[in-house]
């Protein structure tokens, strides 16, 4: 039997998994939306076709992450979402806009399609930017000072760039021809903006949070944190070198930038997780204080153990069905 004190750790782990998967999966499809070129019909259609079968399931990871926060740490859920009320609401507007634009653009009269494409792009940017603002505000412990606000805005730009970067890498992998060349170009541009964002968080986070600074200079946590900026730097350089050579004949290595982007996301996530654990609200509430009743957590854990592997399995199946270069997206 799992002890009451272990349950919050398991749930924060599950929540972390959901957040990480969300950032990677919805990250690439938001990124494709951010990059959507206005006025280039066939390119737009191809780009949207590359995310068509996936975006809905990708977004579900956000619902799971928020759901787990609600289920396992209800007081943190209230506290965090009350502090982030406006950015969270604007993010929801973004998600609504892009979600419906995706469907409307293909069904309305041709003259209105361009309008829905704009809505799609704007919704994607709004969603990504607001998620960055929320992340920045969370890191700053929901302060309302000018410095904190500026940092949040910077973080908004950083996350938007990061999503655009992983989105471009996704396109490099999933498309060919002229669009792939364009995607390689986008990936190179956005990778440097993304790196600047990672660097900014790495510098600012320990400087303003004494607790985080402690982590950065105390063993054993420091061992997990210090390598992160260096590994990320090496990955960015590697990505740059690979992108310079792409696309290769017979399209070898088109998947490499996406894998690199995936590992960069993974390391950034690890850095944040190690910096804040076991706090669920930085400096205010740890996971044991915020956890809900053990019997409720056990009830949902049983289900999670059975269902989460199934979800991962059929998600993998869906990616296998739509494996390879994107084709025209049709209902049949």
């Amino acid at each position: 039997m799992i002890s009451d004190a272990t349950l919050p750790i398991i749930f924060v782990g599950l929540m972390g998994l959901a957040v990480l998967l969300y950032a990677i999966l919805d990250g690439y499809d938001l990124g494709v939306g951010i990059l959507l070129p206005l006025g280039h019909e066939s390119r737009k259609d191809q780009m949207i076709a590359s995310i068509g079968p996936f975006w809905d399931a990708n977004e579900t990871w956000l619902v799971l992450a928020v759901g787990l926060l609600l289920i396992a740490f209800p007081s943190a859920h209230s506290l965090v979402l009350r502090e982030l009320y406006l950015p969270a609401t604007f993010m929801l507007f973004g998600l609504i806009m892009r979600g419906v634009a995706f469907d409307f653009r293909a069904k309305v009269a041709f003259t209105k399609k361009a309008l829905w494409d704009k809505v799609f792009k704007f919704g994607s940017i709004l969603t990504a930017f607001m998620q960055g603002v929320m992340l920045g505000s969370y890191i700053m412990g929901f302060e309302h000072s000018l410095a904190a606000t500026l940092f949040s805005l910077l973080s908004g730009i950083g996350v938007t760039a990061a999503y655009a970067f992983i989105g471009a890498c996704w396109l490099v992998m999933k498309t060919d021809g002229e669009l792939q060349i364009k995607a390689v170009y986008w990936a190179r541009k956005t990778s440097w903006m993304c790196f600047a964002g990672v660097l900014a968080v790495c510098l600012v986070n320990p400087l303003i949070n004494p607790g985080v600074l402690d982590r950065w200079i105390s063993l054993p946590f420091a061992l997990f944190i210090w390598p992160i900026p260096f590994v990320c730097f090496c990955l960015f350089v590697l990505c740059h070198l690979v992108l310079k050579r792409l696309p290769l004949a017979d399209d070898a290595g088109c998947w490499v930038p996406f894998m690199i982007a995936l590992f960069i996301f993974l390391f950034c996530f690890q850095g944040l997780a190690v910096s804040f654990f076991p706090y669920i609200v930085p400096g205010q509430l740890d996971i044991w204080q915020a956890a809900s009743a053990p019997e409720s957590l056990r009830f949902i854990l049983v289900g999670a153990i059975v269902v989460v592997p199934c979800i991962l399995a059929y998600t993998a199946f869906s990616y296998r069905v739509f494996w390879g270069k994107v084709r025209d997206l049709r209902y049949y």
């Binding site: 949207i48 076709a49 289920i71 995706f102 809900s292």
Partner: protein
């Protein structure tokens, strides 16, 4: 605090009213798509596939609107109703969690294959995907209605310092009102989707579409509605009896009964006056309410005056109930007349075709009215007898809620307009598309990008 309570309630009501429009169609529409697909698999007649293709587009659009408006809700529990999660989070949390885990991922993932994967997977995998999406939407309804019913008739828990702790999960999920509400809601979805299908098909026929597919869809939908409508009357009655047992104050408001009385009349119409605590302009049928609720002409119905301070506002519940029942009866009549005429003559006379078109969104009206009855009817409680709505509200500045409320309303009005416009546009587009030649491969139509 009053401002933020009112605004939060308005915002939540706007969100949930907008949201329910789409699941109320998509739950049953997906089962109808399964039916079309399976009929195609068995008979290989292309007409079933054409019906599937037209309706899968409408399903995709409806589903997308349901998803995005649903995500909003999961945030608002925390942002606007923190007291809700603090008091009953131990129950609400896991039920919502199971909805995400068992339903949302299932439907979202297989939707991708259902919509875009037909050429990439064997036929049976595609049929299975459609079936899994249908199961997902119904599972989703199962969990969320378990939670809603628990809020109406809570069971299986104990209160410690005002916080609910579960003692029996089975009793929480299968609480007294759940079986009735779940059946009632699924049937409502069946009727909403049938009338949408019948209405849009009638619209296509009215615009001169002589193809087989819309006539087939019209017949399927009307016959289904003709079967479901009387079932709904029966289940609705049972649901009412269940409410009478567990939430007598809600029934008192539905019937407009102020003083406890024996042999209470059924009021076809009245204007309830909460200040004077009486009704004006009553049109009664003597003893009928007692007969319906107690199966005894002189049965006793407890009146609102027994629940002063504990009963809901009377007008919305009273009128909502009459709208729901009235529209429901119209639906029953239309479905029976339509089916009879289709089965006898093979087509609808022009006036009936127009009547079916006029009833396209009747399911929405009945569903919304029904939800207002049950949700307003639970007030002033958020969880009956456990948590008052006023005690669950947020401390966010009213100005912020006002801002987001106005933005939500604007967004929803625009989206609803676009949705309705697109439904009819898709129908008009379908009228223009030429019928496939017999023997032609239905999979190889060059349609371009149709995402």
């Amino acid at each position: 605090m009053d401002d933020v309570l009112l605004l939060s309630r308005l915002q939540f009501a706007a969100n949930i009213s907008f949201h329910i429009l789409f699941p109320s169609i998509s739950i049953a529409l997906c089962w109808l798509l399964c039916y079309f697909k399976i009929r195609f698999d068995i008979s290989k007649q292309p007409v079933w596939m054409r019906a599937y293709r037209f309706w899968v587009k409408i399903f995709a659009l409806t589903f997308a609107l349901g998803v995005v408006s649903g995500i909003t809700m999961s945030f608002q529990f925390g942002t606007n109703w923190p007291g809700y999660m603090e008091k009953v989070g131990n129950i609400a949390g896991p039920l919502l969690g199971y909805e995400v885990l068992t339903a949302f991922f299932l439907e979202a993932t297989f939707l991708g294959i259902m919509l875009f994967g037909q050429q990439r997977v064997p036929g049976w995998v595609h049929t299975l995907s459609t079936l899994l999406v249908a199961i997902g939407t119904s599972l989703s309804a199962f969990w969320i209605l378990a939670l809603n019913s628990w809020m109406q008739t809570p069971d299986g828990f104990k209160l410690i310092d005002g916080v609910a702790y579960v003692t029996d999960w089975w009793a929480v999920i299968f609480n007294p009102s759940f079986p009735y509400r779940f059946t009632h809601t699924l049937l409502a979805s069946g009727l909403t989707a049938s009338f949408l299908m019948a209405g849009l098909s009638a619209y296509r026929i009215h615009r001169g579409d002589a193809k087989h597919a819309p006539r087939l869809a019209l017949k399927t939908a009307l016959v289904l509605a003709a079967v479901l409508a009387p079932l709904q009357v029966l289940v609705g009655d049972m649901h009412g009896l269940n409410t009478f047992e567990h939430q007598p104050q809600k029934v008192a408001a539905m019937e407009g009964v102020w003083d406890t009385e024996k042999g209470a009349p059924l009021l076809l119409f009245a204007v309830p006056d909460e200040k004077a605590r009486t009704n004006h302009f009553e049109i009664p049928i003597p003893n009928m309410a007692s007969i319906i609720l107690t199966h005894d002409p002189n049965g006793e119905i407890r009146g609102l005056n027994e629940f002063i301070g504990e009963h809901p506002p009377v007008k919305p519940v009273f009128y909502g109930f009459r709208i729901m029942v009235g529209v429901g009866m119209l639906m029953l009549l239309t479905a029976w007349l339509g089916s009879w005429s289709l089965l006898r003559q093979g087509q609808l006379p022009s006036w009936l075709l127009k009547a079916v078109m006029a009833m396209t969104f009747s399911g929405w009206i009945a569903t919304l009215a029904g939800w207002y009855v049950t949700e307003v009817g639970r007030q002033p409680y958020l969880v009956s007898g456990v948590l008052r709505t006023a005690d669950a509200v947020t401390g966010i500045a009213p100005g912020n809620v006002l801002l987001t409320f106005c933005l939500y309303i604007t967004l929803y009005v625009v989206l609803l307009g676009a949705y309705l416009h697109t439904l009819f546009l898709l129908a008009r587009k379908a009228v223009e598309i030429e019928e496939y030649q017999p023997g032609e491969n239905p999979f190889s139509q060059p349609m371009g990008v149709q995402a």
